[in-house]
Amino acid sequence: MMNFINLILSGLATGAIYALVAIGFTLLWQTSQTINFAQGEFVMVPAFFVLAALNLGMPLPIALLVGLALSMLVLGVLFKNLLVDPMLRHGVLPLAICTMALSIFLKETVKEVYSAEASPFPSFLPEGNLIVFGATISIQSVSIFVFAICAVLALQAFLARTSTGRQMQATAQNPYVAKLLGVPVKRMIMYTFLINAALVALASFLISPVYLAKFSAGETLGLAAFIAAIVGGFNQIRGAIVGGLLLGIVDNLAAAYISTQYRGAVPLFLLIAVILFRPQGLMGRAEERTV
């Protein structure tokens, strides 16, 4: 039982990271029909911004803020202006292929500029263990989960309770009508890209102390988050949350009780099952599009 609790807890911590990244997938899809196949690398890059800042002698809190600001600039503003805007007018597929190329570009750039080797990444969360009913609970795992969920709840509150958030939702639902109603659609789309950049930066700062900072660190995360977004429902933020948490738990339980070798296959089986029996995802809604 204690082992089971530990597995669920560490699964929730990993799943919360998946959820953060998966939300980015859904946000970009809803507002600009962008499927970002470089999303995993977007999680990898901010860690290296922070490491570069630390190497310049900055203290960790400042380095994290610098990493966040650079992420929002490079992975938010530049990504939208230099890649998404010019390519989106040619359709979703060319843009998707461009993001695949971007993924390779980011990995190789980090490898060349920084290092091909893994680097330790400092944690800003408390470490240590708690003994609860005889079970050793990692404070870091609990902190990761709580921090990520707080970020998601803050985002939900921002989208639901602020004027800007509602305008972003209106843009996501129907940009043409939103524009007619006076919503600054372009600015709302830019906000979405900035939020995505902030989410991946946060995911990076939370997971890099555990997974280590490495140019290839985004490969697994990107795929897991993409699956989580589809399983949960690509057009719903709450779907991404459910998908992320579910995937984290299923992955851990599969590794412990089924087989470590097949742990990578279990999320894919889940994905196939969802596509076959509930194509819109567990929490998603069916969409109709004019073709």
Binding site: N3, G11, A116, E117, A118, P120, S138, Y211, T260
Partner: protein
């Protein structure tokens, strides 16, 4: 007179290439893991090989000829490694160095053996030198040498009755797991959890839970460097306090750097370390750190002494003979007093396995501390 001049010209035309050949650099090609999960292994190996080449060249080279070393990147992919070893053979090098991963060595060694070119590599899987590739030479111990020492330590020093084994599912990991399981069982120690993991694995939460579930007296960890560091961090996160035992890949410098505090307390048998009570190793470590600004691990030492093994064998032959090099390496004993670059007295057997001193080390306060020097097996 005209006839004399013509004869001179024709002679020069024939002799010049031969002279140029005599003075041409000795080409060594290193096929290593410069990217991918094994980047730590390959980069350490490469940097140290470069250091050794620079030192030898600064002193006039081997038998008066400079060394030229070229590096190919396997991307930690055995398929790429095999293709690159073939490419290296096509370039007709004097010797091949690497790869560092046993799986990559296993698939590439037949090519070097067929070409008759010495391959001085970093793989540690026990079977590598038992497959009949007569041009393959280790730069470190094989698992058949190290695992009995580890099993003895677990059984006799730790007095462990139950052990969990966490291993990486590749040629290196499987060879180590098979060997240590056999040795532990022979000493009456039970393996209560046998946990295979994947190369490049990031999340070890489930594996650590499985290891804990058997209530082991000790955990034996046999993973590559980065995965070792992640596993150590997860073991610490889950509050595991039993002794963590491994081999060089658990307590190497890179692992300590990556794992931070989580590495403290880990212990194991280590074939090569710059923290050993040995002046040559310390001097090498200092030179490396001055040049590359980090402490080399055992992979670095492998790359360094690999070049010196080639140098010693060539000097023993008294000529640069590509086809004769494998035979010159077999049975060779190199004394550190005569060739300091070899770092420790070393004997190479007919299979390409090594015999030399090794160490028992602990990680204490973020540093590797050698507790005991284990003598050469032949002593």
């Amino acid at each position: 007179m005209k006839l004399f001049a013509a004869t001179l010209l024709v002679s020069a035309a024939f002799v010049a290439p031969a002279l140029a050949q005599t003075n041409a650099p000795i080409k060594i090609i290193n096929v290593g893991e410069l990217s991918g999960p094994g980047a730590t292994v390959g980069t350490n190996f490469k940097n140290s090989a470069d250091l050794a080449v620079a030192e030898i060249n600064a002193k006039g080279g081997i038998l008066g000829r400079k060394i030229e070393i070229v590096h190919f990147d396997t991307q930690t992919n055995p398929g790429v490694a095999r293709a690159l070893v073939q490419k290296a053979i096509d370039e007709n090098p004097y010797a091949i160095m690497g790869p560092g991963y046993s799986g990559s060595v296993k698939v590439s060694a037949p090519l070097a053996a067929q070409a008759g070119i010495a391959q001085v590599m970093g793989g540690e899987a026990a079977e590598l030198t038992q497959l009949g590739f007569n041009t393959l030479f280790r730069t470190s111990f094989g698992q058949q040498s190290s695992m009995p020492k580890i099993a003895k330590y677990i059984a006799e020093n730790l007095k462990a009755k139950n052990v969990a084994v966490i291993w990486v599912n590749n040629d290196f990991g499987k060879g180590g797991r098979d060997m240590v399981t056999k040795e532990l069982t022979a000493r009456g120690v039970k393996v209560t959890a046998d946990i295979s993991t994947e190369a490049g694995q990031a999340d070890f939460a489930a594996d650590v839970v499985k290891a804990k579930s058997g209530n082991p007296d000790a955990i034996f960890i046999y993973l590559n460097e980065e995965e070792s560091a992640r596993a150590l961090r997860e073991l610490k996160r889950q509050g595991v306090t039993v002794p963590l035992v491994g081999e060089t890949t658990l307590i190497g410098q890179k692992v300590i750097e990556l794992a931070g505090d989580a590495a403290n307390g880990a212990r194991g048998h280590i074939g090569l370390t710059v923290d050993a009570p040995n002046d040559n190793l310390k001097a090498y470590g200092k030179k490396f750190q001055e040049k590359y600004n980090y402490i080399p691990d055992h992979n670095g030492i492998k790359g360094y002494l690999g070049v010196y093994m080639i140098k010693a064998a060539t000097e023993k032959m008294g000529k640069v003979d590509q086809k004769g090099l494998p035979d010159a390496l077999k049975g060779l004993t190199i004394l550190a007093a005569k060739e300091p670059g070899i770092l420790m007295d070393l004997t190479i057997d007919k299979n390409g396995d090594l015999d030399r001193d090794s160490f028992l080390a602990f990680v204490e306060n973020g540093k590797q501390v050698v507790k005991e020097t284990l003598p050469k097996m032949s002593k």
